[in-house]
Each structure stands twice: as C-alpha cells, then as structure tokens.
Symmetry: C2
Subunit: 556 residues, 2 copies
C-alpha cells in the first residue's frame, strides 16, 4: 500500500480524508488508527469510491473522533477567517436554485454512478433553466461562428456558410490583434453594442437606442448586481430599499443581502395568474418607508419563477407608479422571447416608457437586462448578457463605466454570441432557413411543454397550477397535509423543502421548493422547469403526480 506516515500528530484525519478523496489512493486504516494522521504521496487520477470513504470514516470514528475534534477546535481557534469573523452579509445570502436540494441531487448522482441501488436510474434536474443540459440543441449558426472566432484558420473551410464567415470576420476585426483572446472595451465591443442597439430598436418598433447606453455583461446576473451595487447607499433608516416581487428569482434577495440593502416584498396575486397589483406595490412601499429609503423597483417579465406575462396596461401602471414614487426601475427581461399563451405578448419597459411620452421617457430611470442564456438560445455557459440604461445621470454613468473597467471586460465568446443573437441571419443569407427552423422548433416545443405541464399538473388533486404564459417554469401551489407540515417543522425544514427532498429521494426528480423564492405565508409551491424533452417531461409529470398522491395519503 502506497502510504507513508508524515509528521505524525500534525495532519488531522479530515485532511487525510480530503486528500485521499482527491488523489484516489487508499488509506492505511490501521496506521491511521494508530497515529491519527498520515498522507498519501502517490498521486494517481483514480477516483475514490464514496463507500470506501464512508468505511474509512467509520473506522476512524472510534479512536480518531476525539482527536479530530481537538485538532479542529485548535485549528478553528487559530484561523483568521472563520464563520464568526467573515463578512456577515455573505452569511445572509441564500440561493435556492443551487441550494441544499441540488447538492443532495449531485450526491445521489454520484451514488448512482457507484452502483448504489435507488428506486430510479437517473436524477432529473428540473431545478434550473439550463436548456442544453436538458437536451436542447445549440443553434448551429451561433456555434459555427464561435468556432470560426476561436480558430480563424477555419475561415478557409468550405463547410462554413458565407454569412458565418462574415460575422466571424466582423467580430475578429473589432478585437485587438483580431483575437477573441484580447481584452475588449470594458463596456463591451463597440460593434456588438451597435448590434444590440439596432436589435432593441427593431424589437421596440423604432424607439431609438443609443449604443452608449448599452453595457455588455457576464450574463444578466452581472448587470443586475452591478446596478444594485450603484444604487445601494445610506445607513440605518436611510438604507436603500429594493422592491422585489414575491415569488422572486433569488438572485435578487441574494444580491440585496450581500450589499446590505433592504429587501421590500410585494406579492404577486396567485389567484389572478400571478398578476401585479398597484395597490400591493403601494402597500409594500408604505410599510417600508418607515425603516428605509425605498429607491428601486424590480420587475421580472416574463416572470421567474411564476411564468406570467405582463400586459401593456399593467406596465404603464408600474411606470406611473415608479415616476410618482421616484423609484429607479429595473426590468429583468431575459425571457423576452419565451411567451407562449394566446393573447400574451412581450412589451419591453423601454417601449412602453417611450410611448407614454416625454414626461415619462425623459425622466423615469430604467435599467433593463437581457441574456444569451434563455429564450431559444439557452447558452447559459457562455455568460453573455447586456443591460441598457435609460435616463441615467451622466456622472453616475461615468462611475458605472469606471466600475466595470476594474473587471476589465465581459468574456469575449459571450460578447460574440450576443452579437449573433442580436444580428441573426437575415432572409437571403445562407444560414437563414436553418436558423429560423431551429429557433421556431425550440420555441414551439417550449410552448407545447408549457401547456402540457399546466394541464397534467392540474389533473392532480392538491396541485393547482397557473397557466405558464411565458418564461421556462411552472410554479404550482401544493396542498400539504397538516401532519407533513408538523413533521417538517419538527425537523426544522420548510414544509415544501421536506416535500421536495422526499420527492428527490423517492423519484430522482430535483425541483426547488417555493420557500426558496418566497411565497405567501401558509402556502407551499415548487418550481419546475418545462425544459426536459416532451417524452421525459411526461414521465416526470406522471411521477410527480404519483408521488403527490402517495405523499398526501401517507401523511393524511
């Protein structure tokens, strides 16, 4: 056995476990028992089965536990950075979309790989809007251009259509040394910002858009956090208050916690298809103004996790409210192409603002956000995005430009992708037909799956699902038996977390409990993406149905 004892008594067992996990070497348990410490010098890339690890842990547990505890306590006392001395705001951050349930799902996947028997063969991650991971194919045109940008020697290759080459050459020409490996302007490549601004103008029926108001970002999240950062000021009762919908996408609550701003909840009306009510905005604002300075109103449209699409009239109401109450508007519009329900249409806040006339268009401050991760693209891994700022004070804008320059530039492949999304193949160009076919198929597919999800969920007694008008999620309400709620609370778990955890363990389906997004006291939900392929989605929904019935029966 390739094991040697190194400076006995020095390295705690935990370190050994962690090293051996990394190196894949077995550990001499007898020696470990004796001295409590050792290390493995031969580093080979075999992975270490978790069962062996747990045997190892058990073997240790008798003799070494006390020693480990002592070692840990000692090292805890000596550490500079501990849970008690770290940034307190970070501790308050929560992000359910990748929270404990997802960590458990990853663990279960590993167990399955190692041959642990489960009542299912695979984990289905319906927790996150990750289209490609769910089998959606990337758009050919995008990937051809990215390949050309990555390895320009391919520009001589006949396999690539002329319009992909033209796009790649245009992007490369705008890069230092004609390489996507060079830094770009911190605000983003100029010609990409021009593409974005022309896209916005087309989208909004000619409303002018200045490329100087476009900031390319590392996904929409980056833009949202940057704007909240600029807006957070004051102390105590003058601290910036940020109004967010409940249920919300937890990036908002996480960023607010990290920045030490004040989260102000306004509740969407589940009975009115997650509609937004101005009187509720008013209530939320009034309740807040005693203990902070409400300055920001965030809207997610189409809604995440709730899937509603705002009407034009409602957007006007919101804008009027923001103007009257002097709130900075942040419009999260990353699902702008994901509108499925009949009679629903996406209106950008910018367009509505413009059409409400100069009284609004010249005064209301707005930042809107878009991303390459959603819609028909689903290119989450590229971390592409942009924000457009309207009516931003020129001095603040200079500060924003300075702030983004510290991080040098957004990833260039993401910028290039944003150029392609906003300047996609046009009729007459060789890639147009295939591009259109792929986009239409993906969006049509999503529309069908939105309908399917709503329909099947609503056949389950105790599950009530609003129409999935847009975005990529259903957020049904679930009725939980009193006994389940009690048991969850005894375990210190949110009742819907208790439910989702059981669902995961029994079926392999990974959903996010409603408590991670916020919900009305006493109601319970889960968020489920509509992204799995239709046949898989059907199986998934029928498993959820069976589970819900079993769960209800078991706890009644």
């Amino acid at each position: 056995m390739s094991i040697c004892v190194l400076r006995a008594q020095m390295l705690p067992c935990k370190t050994v476990l962690s090293w051996t996990r990394g190196t894949g070497n077995r550990c001499d348990i007898a020696r470990l028992r004796k001295c409590g410490v050792c290390y493995v010098p031969n580093l080979s890339p075999v992975s270490f089965p978790s069962r062996t690890l747990s045997n190892l842990a058990t073997a240790h547990s008798g003799l070494a536990r006390r020693e480990m505890a002592e070692n840990e306590a000692l090292s805890r006392r000596q550490k500079v950075l501990t849970i008690d001395t770290m940034n307190a705001n970070i501790k308050k951050v929560e992000y359910a979309v990748r929270g404990p349930i997802v960590q458990r799902a990853v663990q279960i996947e590993k167990e399955l790989k190692e041959g642990v028997k489960k009542p299912f063969n695979e984990v289905i991650k319906a927790n996150i809007g990750d289209a490609h991971a769910m089998g959606q194919r990337p758009v050919t045109f995008f990937r051809q251009v990215l390949a050309l940008c990555s390895y320009p020697e391919l520009l001589d290759d006949d396999k690539f259509p002329e319009d992909t080459k033209y796009r790649a050459q245009r992007i490369l020409k705008a890069c230092g040394g004609s390489s996507i490996g060079a830094y770009t302007a911190s605000q983003g490549i100029e010609c990409v910002r021009q593409d974005v601004s022309r896209y916005i103008e087309r989208r909004d029926g000619g409303v002018p858009c200045d490329p100087d108001n476009i900031y390319l970002t590392t996904g929409a999240s980056d833009g949202i956090v940057t704007m909240l950062k600029l807006l957070t000021a004051g102390e105590g009762r003058t601290r910036t208050g940020v109004m967010i919908p409940i249920p919300q996408y937890p990036l908002y609550s996480a960023a607010i916690a990290e920045l030490g701003a004040v989260q102000l909840n306004y509740y969407l009306d589940e009975d009115k298809c997650w509609g937004l009510d101005i009187s509720e905005l008013q209530r939320s604002l009034q309740a807040a103004s005693k203990h902070c300075n409400p300055r920001v109103l965030c809207i997610i449209n189409p809604g995440n996790p709730t899937g509603q699409v705002q009407s034009r009239e409602r957007i006007e109401d919101v804008i009027r409210f923001a103007a009257k109450e002097r709130l900075f508007l942040m419009a999260d519009e990353v699902y702008q192409d994901n509108v499925y329900a009949e009679g629903c249409k996406f209106y950008s806040f910018k367009k509505v603002l413009y059409e409400m006339g100069p009284e609004y268009f010249n005064t209301v401050e707005l930042a809107s956000f878009h991303s390459t991760s959603k819609c028909y693209m689903g290119e989450c891994g590229m971390r592409g995005g942009y924000m457009e700022v309207i009516n931003m004070d020129s001095e603040v804008k200079a500060q924003l430009t300075k702030l983004v320059s510290v991080r040098l530039c957004p990833p260039v492949p993401g910028q290039a992708l944003m150029a392609l999304v906003t300047n996609s193949p046009q009729p007459g160009e060789p890639s147009h037909a295939q591009f259109l076919k792929e986009r239409t198929a993906t969006l049509g597919d999503l529309a069908q799956k939105a309908k399917l999800t709503e329909e099947i969920l609503n056949t389950v007694p105790g599950i009530r699902c609003n129409p999935v008008q847009g975005a990529m999620y259903s957020f049904p309400q679930i009725t939980l038996p009193e006994r389940a709620i009690r048991e969850a609370k005894e375990k210190g778990q949110a009742p819907d977390m208790f439910y989702c955890m059981k669902l995961l363990e029994e079926t392999g389906i990974c959903l996010v409990p409603g408590s991670g997004f916020g919900q009305k006291e006493g109601t319970y939900h889960f968020r489920m993406t509509i992204l799995p392929p239709a046949d898989k989605l059907k199986i998934l929904l029928s498993k959820v149905k069976e589970f819900h019935q079993r769960f209800t029966k078991c706890y009644s």
Copy 2:
C-alpha cells in the same frame, strides 16, 4: 435631411447629440437651434465624424447652452440615482490601467481614423498586459480544442489532431447535454478542477492538492475580489485591513475601496530591485493596528507593475510573518511562467508553505490565484482563472461555495481553456511538438524584450529601470524637472500623469503613470508593458527616449 422634430422642448440637446453619435445621422442644426430638440428616426450604421459633432456642439453652444443647463438641472433634481445618492464606496474606486489616459488614447485613435493630423500614425497601447492585442499569436492547440468544443461537428474533421479531439470530448462529456452552453457546477467543472490540481502537484514537486480546494473563476480578478469580500468585516476600528504592496496592481485598491475595507500600504524597495522587506511589513502593520483590524496580506509574485521575482527565502519570511501576525495570505501568482532573469525562479507560496513543515502548512491560511490571461497564453478575453484555498475553515468554505453559486458558474470557454493550460499536450501526443515550439518561442521572446526594455531605458539620463525579472512590465523611475512638477500641480494633475499625457499627445504611446499604482512620495514612474513585437518595442523605446530628453530640456 432625415430629421424630424419630436415633442419639441422635451428632449435636451445632449440626448440628440448622443443619439446622433450612435446612429451616424446628421442633425438639422437650424431646427435644433430653434427648438433645442429633435430626433433622428433613420438609423443607419454609419459612424458620425467627431469634427461634425464638435461643429454641432459649437453651433449649439450659444443658443442652446442655457436651455441644456436648465434641462440638465431639472433632470438632475428629479433623478433617483445621482452622484450624491449613489454608493459612496464606488466613487472612491480608481483603476488607472483603464483610466483617463486610456480614454484619451481611445479618443485619439478615433481622431486618427477620421483623418485628424497627428505627429504619429497609430496609438501604441503599452498600458495593459494584453498580449494578443500586441500581436502575440494564440496557442494553436488551445484554439483547436475551443473550436471543437464550440462546434462538435468538427470532431469528424481530419484537420484536427487526435489529442485536440480527445481533450474536447473529455470536456464536452463533463458538460450537461455535452454542451459548453450548459451551466456547470458553480465551483467549476469537476474534471477541470482535477486537471488544475494535478498541474499544481506537478508544479510544486508533488505537494498534494485537493480538487475540492480549487475554485474556477472569471479571470483571477474574480477570485481576488471574492476572497476580499469574504474577508471584509467589522466597522470603524475593527474594519478589516488589507496589506498591499506599493506599487500595486490597482485591482486591489479598487476592490478594497468598493468593499469599504482599509488599504494598508507596504512599500517595496526600489533600490533593492523592488524587494520586499519584512521590517517594512512590520512598520505597515504597526501603523495600521490603531485604526483597523489588519487581517489580510496580499503578495504579487512575480510583481505587477514592478516585475521582481521573490526569492524562496523571502517567501519563507513572509509566511513566518503572516503566521506570527495571524494574517490571511493572498498570493497573486498569475505571472508564474513569466520569469526571465538569470538566477530567478518562481516558487509558489503553497510549495514553500508545505516545505516549511506542518506547523505552517496546517495553520497558515492561503489563497493563491492564477489566470489564463498571462504567461505564454495571453488569453485575456476568455476570462479563465482559478484559485486554490489552503486551510480554509470548513464553514467558511461552505459559505464561499454558496456565494459563488449565486453567479451560477464561470464562463465555460474559460474553464475549458484552463483545462488545456493545466493539461497541455504531453510528449508522444500529436500536438506536443508544435505546442512546445509556440510556448518556448513566446516565453523566449518575452525574456528578450524584458532585457531590451531594461537596457534601452537605462541609456536615458533621468530614467532608471530595475531589471525586469518577471511578469510583463517595466516600471522605471523618471526624474522630472521642478518646473514640470509645478505646472502639473497647477493643473491639478499628478506630475507623472502630466508627463504620460504629453507623451501620448506627442508620440501616440500610451503608458500608465506610476501614481495609478502608488509610489513613494516625491518619486515618479510609469508602467510600460514589454509586449509589443520586438521591432515595434525598439521604436517605442527610442520614442520614449527622445520624448524624455525633449521634455527634460523643455522644462529645465
């Protein structure tokens, strides 16, 4: 002329200027004069010559200036987000590497394009370590694999060597849906973290590295800011103090300002080749402990902007100091392959820490940072990076993992690139010879240019340049005539900013003044990259020489 008046009196002239700048349309000045407002509906991608813009501005200035001022004052009063109400910490952020001198350089480039006559034909940006922009060619192997990952249909193509295909397939297999468009684990793709950890073990002669301690990042900057964020706590006299070298890379001062931590300067000794002196660390710490809680010690090795390479002994001293004073060590090691001077060698903090024995290796907390942007890669635009954390408290590590999950994942092309950098072609693999040739050529080239820069600069009376032992920059001291210093101060400019600005205007060479990095009171420097191609670098250096002589004469 394609111009129409829209809602007269509503849109301030500034908006028009900014719109027309974006759209490239001409503006009807007479109309503008009359009503002060208008807008251009036809949006075409022609760019707007800045001379026309400045004519336009002049035309306006008489009649419209008052109106603009009124409009601006009005809109200022109404704005939610102003320079007075924004995040005060952001206002303190400075980032010289992309500061005013670079903005002016970009402006001059535009002027040259528009035909404005200058005493030079191009701007040479020696302000930033942007290798590809300076003509360095990307490594073929990296770009082939990236192209394959972007467009896996190319896996059937005979043009690509087998080892590029193998690497691409391995990365794709680790991605959800086999697409680099899927989100990855927030800490980074597991097999990439394994590659990184094996790379570190090889680099450090077998010192074990646990992939669980590796966090992939969006460039090194992301990791550095994330660590500083975790470490920032307390208020007033208990606020976290962060020791940084002076001169420093201004990401550090910027992040410290943004987080509201306390910047603690320790000065590098220019007379000892920018050496680090422990007594200076002690002085800095002592001075600080009255007004804050010093908890972090940042080291940049090889040095940026100063180019020195730390000896093994000095690193040991620093570690002993950190252990004694209970400081969290942050080692910025992004230039680890960029070591040129004879007798100099890169030692990682991790390796030295390990070899100092368990008394140190089990207690001293360390985070070290690396990047795909520097060394022989120069892939800045990909925003790839990693950090390794050593002896991090397990609860804090869980908080770190949670924190990075909010931003979902680092850009996947950057992660893929990091896998290639740390798992490069091996002897026997088809790409090995070319890879080695390219890497050797680039590093050899840099070594020559480091020598060349030092030698030529030291021929100039009034310029004194330490050996460029490593990294990518020279940071020579310049002697400025008293009269120049006075004139600069009268203008409210740092004297070396005054110098660099004149250099830019007269020669087109863009350098960063030493004041942007910090320097000993009364000394003046500039930072210049050694990246331009050798022939261009020679011209650049001779121009700097001429300029310095002219400047000295003129102000003597």
